[in-house]
């Protein structure tokens, strides 16, 4: 049971933190249509987070709610992977973070929708439609920027250098994943193939032999997460026990 709760929280934290990050673009995007698109993805991710948190709260059955789980846990309790908490950087870095993660989610949710746990399976199935769109949209941006101008290509290379080190963790199972019967190691090949196809079209290299950072899934994060939670949780922390 505890593994299932932790795993559900891991899924929830991944989507909440990436949703929170993407929302920072709202009102500041490079062009109005894309401002709307990134905000839309943020909304989808927060919607997914809510479904997972609600389920985790039910499993815990200790009076937890979606909001207490999102707003009252500490940086060491959050279980999101390191990739999603990385700063937005420029549009290239945000697009790459989205693409790497959406691609991972795409294969993960495909597996999860057949899981024996029907609640997780149902959330995965419903979310997969959204993720398919996020993946297509971000792939198109990777290609556009990689195969755009000299500047955009060079910014993509910088983004890859910045973010690739956080992709290894996605496929290294932690206890709660194994105990919930999730085989994430098996997703790696399909994920990498998909990345290669898109990078190839974008004229971008797939890095090799990069040392991979880990720890997010077990609560050992980069220094960024503390600041994300500071902002996210401020009102709830300042006025404890209030309804909003």
């Amino acid at each position: 049971m505890s593994a299932l709760i932790d795993y559900t929280l891991h899924l929830a934290d991944n989507t909440l933190i990436l949703g929170q990050r993407n929302a920072e673009w709202c009102g500041h995007g490079p062009v109005l249509e894309q401002d709307i698109a990134i905000t839309n993805i943020s909304l989808d991710l927060i919607g997914q987070a809510r479904s997972f948190y609600q389920y985790a709260a039910e499993l815990k059955a200790d009076g937890s709610t979606e909001d207490s789980l999102a707003y009252l846990r500490t940086e060491r309790e959050f279980k999101n992977c390191l990739l999603v908490e990385q700063p937005n950087g420029d549009w290239a870095q945000t697009m790459l973070r989205q693409f790497l993660f959406s691609c991972y989610q795409f294969f993960l949710y495909q597996q999860l929708q057949h899981h024996t746990n029907t609640r997780l399976a149902a959330i995965a199935e419903k979310s997969l439609k959204e993720v398919r769109y996020h993946l297509r949209w971000s792939s198109e941006w990777i290609i556009r920027l990689g195969d755009g101008t000299g500047e955009s290509h060079s910014r993509m290379l910088t983004a890859i250098d910045e973010l690739w080190r956080y992709t290894g963790e996605l496929f290294i199972p932690v206890t709660y994943e194994t105990e919930t019967g999730i085989d994430i190691t098996s997703l790696k090949e399909a994920w990498l193939n998909n990345i290669k196809i898109v990078f190839d079209e974008a004229t971008l290299p797939v890095p090799e032999n990069v040392f991979m950072q880990t720890g997010g899934k077990t609560g050992v994060h980069t220094e960024h997460l503390g600041f994300i939670l500071t902002e996210l949780q401020y009102v709830q922390r300042a006025y404890p026990g209030s309804e909003w």
Binding site: A23, E33, L43, E66, D90, V235, S242, W244
Partner: protein, 315 residues
């Protein structure tokens, strides 16, 4: 046909409630006034994303965060329809955006006030969107077709936003002591700026007469402002809060609420650029545009490459 005849036909259409469409003949001043007003309206939607966007990261619950994100996104969508409507009058979106950034084009002054607490988000929904709706409902019947049609869509979403804002304040008004204070404080700060949204008094409004004749506007600034005061003075009773105006009082004879005098000095100062956030708002818009330049260039360059490859394939 002499210009006078065109003008006569044009005014007859207006008088007979026939919409003016992009390809119809129209007086230059009508085109200019509409272009100014619609682009200003579009800019207001876009700049208006900033004060509310300021609280997305700190929204106090996941539900409120999702509602706020969706609302700000709706505003971006309204900006899109309005820029498209304005483009039918012969100016590109990019030119309009440049005018905003250079300070030539204006946007609603209300967005030059800061959002200091979470309650400001509710107050904006209730008061600012509430004031905007007064104007926009009238504009669904404006004489320029594309503008009127854009307004129909926008009004549906705006009235939803207003209800959400009110509901958010209602929760605060029934909450803890701190929440009630936060709610009253936000109303105190947003009330007068919301009244200013209707513009100068009729006696001092330069564009009003011609706009009424051309049915760009159908109600005067003062009429709309009065309708707004009458509506809010009733709604606030449900919140159990007070409007910051000692002179606010029901006038049985007029069948309207009387209310105090707006600080017109403040109004003109904010219009001139001296509001608390004029600089920050324009800086944020310019920065987003400048930081996005390489992205827009890359997208255009890629599209060109793609088109060339298609051509090569076809050949």
């Amino acid at each position: 046909m002499p210009v006078q005849d065109f003008e006569k036909i044009f005014q007859e259409k207006i008088d007979n409630e026939v919409k003016i469409e992009p390809k119809d003949w129209m007086p230059d001043a009508y085109r200019k006034t509409n272009l100014r007003q619609i682009s200003q309206h579009a800019h207001s939607e876009i700049v208006g994303m900033l004060p509310e966007g300021n609280w997305i990261g700190r929204a106090p619950s996941l539900k409120r965060k999702a509602i706020l994100l969706a609302k700000v996104q709706d505003e971006a969508g309204h900006g899109l329809y309005l820029y498209s409507a304005a483009e039918t009058l012969g100016m590109s979106r990019e030119e309009m955006i440049n005018d905003l950034h250079s300070g030539k084009a204006k946007y609603s002054s209300i967005f030059n006030y800061p959002t200091l607490t979470w309650a400001d988000i509710g107050a904006i929904g209730w008061l600012v969107d509430g004031a905007a709706i007064m104007n926009q409902v009238m504009l669904t019947r404006t004489s320029y077709g594309p503008y009127a049609r854009a307004m129909v869509r926008i009004c549906k979403e705006e009235s939803f936003h207003q209800r959400q804002g009110f509901e958010s304040l209602l929760v605060l008004s029934r909450g803890t002591k701190e929440q009630k204070e936060m709610c009253q404080d936000a109303i105190n700060r947003w009330w007068w700026p919301a009244l200013m949204m209707f513009g100068p008094k009729d006696a001092e409004s330069t564009n009003s007469d011609q706009s009424m004749k051309w049915k760009i506007k159908r109600k005067t600034n003062d009429e709309l402002r009065q309708n707004f005061v009458d509506m809010i003075a009733e709604q606030i009773k449900t919140l159990g809060m007070k409007l910051p105006d000692d002179k606010l009082k029901w006038n049985e004879e007029r069948r309207h609420y009387d209310f105090g005098e707006i600080n017109w000095n403040e109004f003109w100062q904010v219009v001139k650029g001296n509001g608390p956030c004029n600089k920050q708002r324009l800086d944020a818009r310019r920065k987003a545009w400048e930081n996005g330049e390489w992205v827009r260039e890359a997208a255009a360059a890629h599209a060109r490459k793609r088109a060339e490859r298609q051509k090569d394939k076809a050949a």
